[in-house]
Each structure stands twice: as structure tokens, then as C-alpha cells.
């Protein structure tokens, strides 16, 4: 089943949450609204003809250009994009789900954007969402264990954000 068919299936129950799609991309994707994510995820997993039982990867891309000159050239407004790579071991098809998020919640710098967690649907999401939180700074609501995973617990900032500044010192250790 290709992305277009899946989109058609999703259209019926979740029309207001489907905010975009691209079936011609290298990896066809469907964009959904964050608030509807858990329901859509559960639907994708449980519906027999979809059966997306495996979540491969959760990641985020920061669309933000720190360089002012370059920033003037890009077409997009800064935003964060969450990407979920799914596949089905039964039906042998793949899908990419995307969720668009603001870089900061309510545009207040320092306030992390929020999105519901799908760790209740796929356990893979547990650690991957922790990693996204750690490195990209996205808060996953309803996550069972929202701690940092790769960086130390007391690390400040989210290193994979484009405007991240490496601290010069960590516990008295020179870092650059």
C-alpha cells in the first residue's frame, strides 16, 4: 500500500488533523497535527490493512538559519519538524509521518514546544523521544520517563538546534 492509499484511509476519520502531504518525495510523507498524533498512531498500528507495527525512528529537524544573510534567502519561517519512520512487518509497506512544531512554545524563547508522546503506541518511541528531547528540545507530553538520554542530566541547552551555543565550561572542564 503506498502513501496515497494510506492518506485516503486516514482522510475519513482524521481529516482535520491532516495538514499536508507529499507523495512525490523520495520518501513520501504525510504531515499531521501534533494534537491528533496519538490517535493517528494508534489507528495506523491497529488497523488491519495498515498494521504499522514497527516504529523505526523518531527524529526532528530544526529549520532555523542562524546566519542573518542566509536567513533572508530561505523561503521558510523557522520551525521544528518531527519525523516518524514507520513500517509494517506484516504488510511490508513504509510511511513517513511528519509533525510541524514551533521552535518555541508560544514563541517565547526557552519554552520547549510540546507534542503528545507515542511511547504508549510503540515502545521504540520511549528512548527515541528522550533523545529528541535531549538533543532537539521537544517536550513529549505523557512520556513515562522524560529525562535526557545521551547528554548528562545537568547539561544545558539542546545541542542539535541550529542556534545552540556550546558552553565554554562544564563542571570546571574547559570544553573549547
Amino acid at each position: 500500500m503506498n502513501a496515497r492509499n494510506i492518506y485516503d484511509l486516514l482522510l475519513q476519520p482524521f481529516k482535520p488533523w491532516l495538514t499536508g502531504h507529499d507523495f512525490e518525495a523520495i520518501d513520501p510523507w504525510i504531515e499531521v497535527g501534533g494534537e491528533g498524533l496519538p490517535e493517528i498512531a494508534r489507528f495506523l498500528r491497529d488497523q488491519d490493512e495498515l498494521a504499522f507495527d514497527m516504529l523505526h525512528c523518531v527524529t526532528a529537524v530544526d529549520y532555523f538559519e542562524p546566519d542573518e544573510k542566509k536567513a533572508a534567502k530561505v523561503q521558510w519561517q523557522p520551525y521544528l519538524e518531527l519525523i516518524y519512520h514507520l513500517s509494517s512487518t506484516k504488510r511490508r509497506h513504509r510511511l513517513v509521518l511528519k509533525v510541524k512544531l514551533p521552535r518555541w512554545k508560544d514563541d517565547r524563547p526557552g519554552e520547549l514546544p510540546e507534542v503528545p508522546s507515542v511511547s504508549g503506541v510503540w515502545s521504540t518511541a520511549d528512548w527515541h523521544e528522550r533523545e529528541v528531547f535531549d538533543l532537539m528540545g521537544v517536550r513529549f507530553l505523557g512520556h513515562p520517563d522524560p529525562r535526557r538520554i545521551l547528554c548528562p542530566e545537568d547539561w544545558e541547552g539542546h545541542p542539535l538546534r541550529k542556534d545552540y551555543q556550546m558552553p565554554t565550561e562544564y563542571h570546571g572542564i574547559q570544553t573549547r
Binding site: 523520495i26 525512528c57 527524529t59 529537524v61 515502545s123 545521551l150 545541542p159
Partner: protein, 401 residues
């Protein structure tokens, strides 16, 4: 009656023991690197396990945002350093997917040979370390002796022994030297009987079976739920291998090859193999099956290599040259998972029209394979911890990236 109960309470209180928290790692002989696992133990029984990772975090994804895709290749070696060729291949295929390229037939066969050789090397380390973690040192030396021969072959072909950087996006800089395939076949010929020795030493050893059978059982649903892949998933009875079920760019590589996916679906292995039978104690998805699947995969890889050598020699095409160092990437993103020895290794490249990727994501197999550890280790004995960890076959370079 009241008094009696009070008395028994007192007795129980007297013999009650406290739980103890123990740090296993980051400096511990059997955590395969710098993994730290906090064990909550009651005597010898482990009641809770909390893995802490990140001690080897080297910001691999951030570094990728500063380098072109070809410059980044050496960094992929450092992910799963026991299967660096497969990491190179995964990266190369992802770049090719983004660029929309395909390599020539000859390059394809060379890639199969190299990738499968490295798969054997990686599985050998897994088998040897499994023995080591169960307290048997000899298999480790034997498997490393064999791995050494593969590493020698790789050294001939690319000059490096651990971090090869050989399978570049688009092709290879130089083909194998003269006589290399002959030596490769000679290795396979002498390796055949060694597999039997390893089976004799571990697979059918009564103590080995006692230590691994029915230990750390990972049911198929749970394995899929946690995103476990590779031998770990297949040992749970899920017939899933990206070399056969993956995206076209992966499966095309193996077009024309005959081989089997090793998975004990329904408790039975697909092939009439000459190796020891499944012991009655073993349950599909336990540590023993995870070990056995790897051992049988080694044999399949050998078939693939022999076929690859034949096809490579018969092909009179040319080897492709790699892409330019500053090759521009198109706008768009490509995500590709390939079947690395330890599971599905995924790379995602987001291109923005320049030579440097906007974002690179590395989805590592060990990262997912180790995540069910708390579930697997609930209520086991301390001695089972290393056994389960070894059966998952993790590499910390890949987990922490």
C-alpha cells in the same frame, strides 16, 4: 493467635534483607564498552535494571552538519566499529538514494562481498564475546583468530584494519588487488570446519545451553514493539531481513543471489543445516536462539560471498568511481535503513541544495536492541545479565553516536 502472628512477623522482619543498588559499568568487563547499567538486586536476583547510555556520545549527527557527505564517511566507521564496512555501505546507499543514483553491476557485487565479509567478522566477535561473558575464554580467541584473517583481507583492500572508509558513495576509489579473491576463497575454505569447532565449543555445550536456553526470552510482538532488528528480531521468530524485504535500493543489491533468511519461524530453522539441533530447553526468542541465528547467518554470508566472487569475476564492466568531494545534494530528504550485522542501521540525510547536509540522523540498531533490556532482565540472576547483554550484541559506538 494474635501473639502467634506477631511472632511470625518478627521472624520475617529479622530475615528480611534490603535491596542493593549496584552500578554495572561504565567500567565493567562485560558491558561491551562504556554502558552503565544500574541493578537493583535482592541477593543474586535482579529486580530492576536501568541502562544509562551516552558515555561515548561524540555528536556524530552535529558533526555531519559541517561536512560534505563524502567527508563524513570516516565518521560512519566509528559508529559500529566492528562492522565499519556495513556502516560505510549504509551511508553510501543513503547518499545514492538522495542523489537518485545507482552503481554498476560490478560495484554492486563487490559491495555484497565486502559487506558479507564484514558481517562474518562482526558475528564472530559477537559469538566470541558471548563465550567470554559466560566465562569461557577460548571461543573468543578462536573467533578473533578468524576475524583477524578477514581484517587482513580488508587491510589489503583498503589499508585499514578497523575503520575502513572503503565503500564510498557512488563507488570505490580502487578495486581489490590481484589475487585478492583467491585469498578470500581460501579463507572461506579453511573457515568452513572452524564453524563446526565453534558449534562444538559453544552451541551444543551442556553448560552453554543451561546458561542461555530460556534466558532473556524476547517474544516477537515485544521485539517489534521495541524496534529490535537484525538477528535479535529474527531469533524471536520474525522472518524479516532488509536484504530481502527492504527498500528497492537494498534488495537490488542482492538480485540474482540465492540465500536464506535465518529465522526460527514456528521454532524451526529454514535449512537442513549440519549444525547441532535446537536443544529441547530452548525457547524461540531466548539468548540461545539469538546466538544460533548469528552462527547460521555466517554460513549464509559465506554462500553470498562465494556467489559474489563468481559474479564479480564473470562481469566485465567497470567499477564506479565515487562521487565528488563537494557533490551538491538536492533539496529533500532521504531515509534508508540497511541490514547491518547488528540490525537495521538507518541514515537520514536532509539536503538543502548545498554540498553539506542540513541535518543527518543516524538510527542505530543497537540503540533499539538494547532498549528492551529492563524488560528482559526483570527477575533474572546477576549471572544472566551478561548473558542477555551479550546475546543482544551491542556496540556502544553505535548507541551513543
Amino acid at each position: 493467635m494474635q501473639a502467634e502472628r506477631a511472632q511470625s512477623d518478627t521472624v520475617e522482619f529479622d530475615v528480611r534483607t534490603d535491596e542493593m543498588l549496584i552500578n554495572m559499568g561504565p567500567q565493567h568487563p562485560s558491558t561491551h564498552g562504556v554502558l552503565r547499567v544500574v541493578l537493583r538486586t535482592d541477593g543474586e536476583v535482579v529486580s530492576e535494571v536501568t541502562p544509562h547510555i551516552g558515555y561515548l556520545h561524540r555528536s556524530a549527527e552535529k558533526i555531519a552538519e559541517k561536512l560534505t557527505v563524502r567527508q563524513y564517511l570516516p565518521y560512519t566507521d566509528r559508529l559500529d566499529y566492528l562492522a565499519a564496512m556495513n556502516m560505510n555501505l549504509g551511508w553510501a546507499l543513503t547518499v545514492e538514494k538522495l542523489l537518485g543514483r545507482r552503481v554498476s553491476e560490478k560495484t554492486r557485487h563487490l559491495r555484497v562481498i565486502i559487506a558479507e565479509l564484514n558481517r562474518i567478522a562482526s558475528h564472530l566477535v559477537a559469538a566470541g564475546c558471548f563465550g567470554l561473558d559466560l566465562g569461557s575464554f577460548t571461543p573468543f580467541m578462536w573467533t578473533f583468530r578468524e576475524r583477524e584473517k578477514i581484517v587482513d583481507l580488508f587491510e589489503e583492500i583498503c589499508g585499514a584494519r578497523l575503520t575502513y572508509s572503503y565503500l564510498l558513495p557512488g563507488g570505490v576509489t580502487a578495486g581489490p588487488p590481484d589475487g585478492w579473491f583467491g585469498r578470500c576463497e581460501a579463507f572461506l575454505d579453511q573457515f568452513d570446519p572452524v564453524i563446526d569447532e565453534l558449534h562444538a565449543l559453544l552451541t551444543s555445550n551442556a553448560i552453554f545451553i543451561k546458561r542461555t536456553a530460556d534466558v532473556g526470552v524476547l517474544p516477537p510482538e515485544m521485539a517489534i514493539d521495541y524496534g529490535c532488528t537484525g538477528p535479535v528480531l529474527r531469533a524471536s521468530g520474525v522472518d524479516w531481513d532488509l536484504r530481502r524485504d527492504g527498500e528497492p535500493i537494498c534488495t537490488e543489491m542482492y538480485d540474482g543471489y540465492t540465500w536464506q533468511v535465518i529465522a526460527p519461524t514456528g521454532g524451526r530453522y529454514p535449512d537442513d543445516h549440519p549444525y547441532p539441533p535446537v536443544p529441547p530447553e530452548a525457547v524461540v526468542g531466548d539468548s540461545w536462539h539469538r546466538f544460533f541465528v548469528r552462527m547460521l547467518e555466517v554460513v549464509q554470508s559465506m554462500y553470498l560471498i562465494r556467489q559474489g566472487i563468481e559474479k564479480y569475476s564473470a562481469d566485465d564492466g567497470e567499477l564506479d568511481k565515487p562521487i565528488k568531494i563537494k557533490e551538491k545534494l538536492p533539496k529533500g530528504e532521504a531515509y534508508l535503513e540497511t541490514e547491518a550485522p547488528k540490525g537495521q542501521m538507518g541514515f537520514m540525510i536532509v539536503g538543502d541544495g548545498s554540498a553539506v547536509p542540513w541535518r543527518v540522523r543516524i538510527r542505530s540498531s543497537s540503540f533499539c536492541n538494547i532498549s528492551p533490556l529492563p524488560e528482559l532482565c526483570r527477575g533474572v540472576l546477576i549471572a544472566d545479565m551478561p548473558a542477555i547483554l551479550a546475546s543482544l550484541d551491542i556496540v556502544l559506538g553505535e548507541i551513543d553516536r
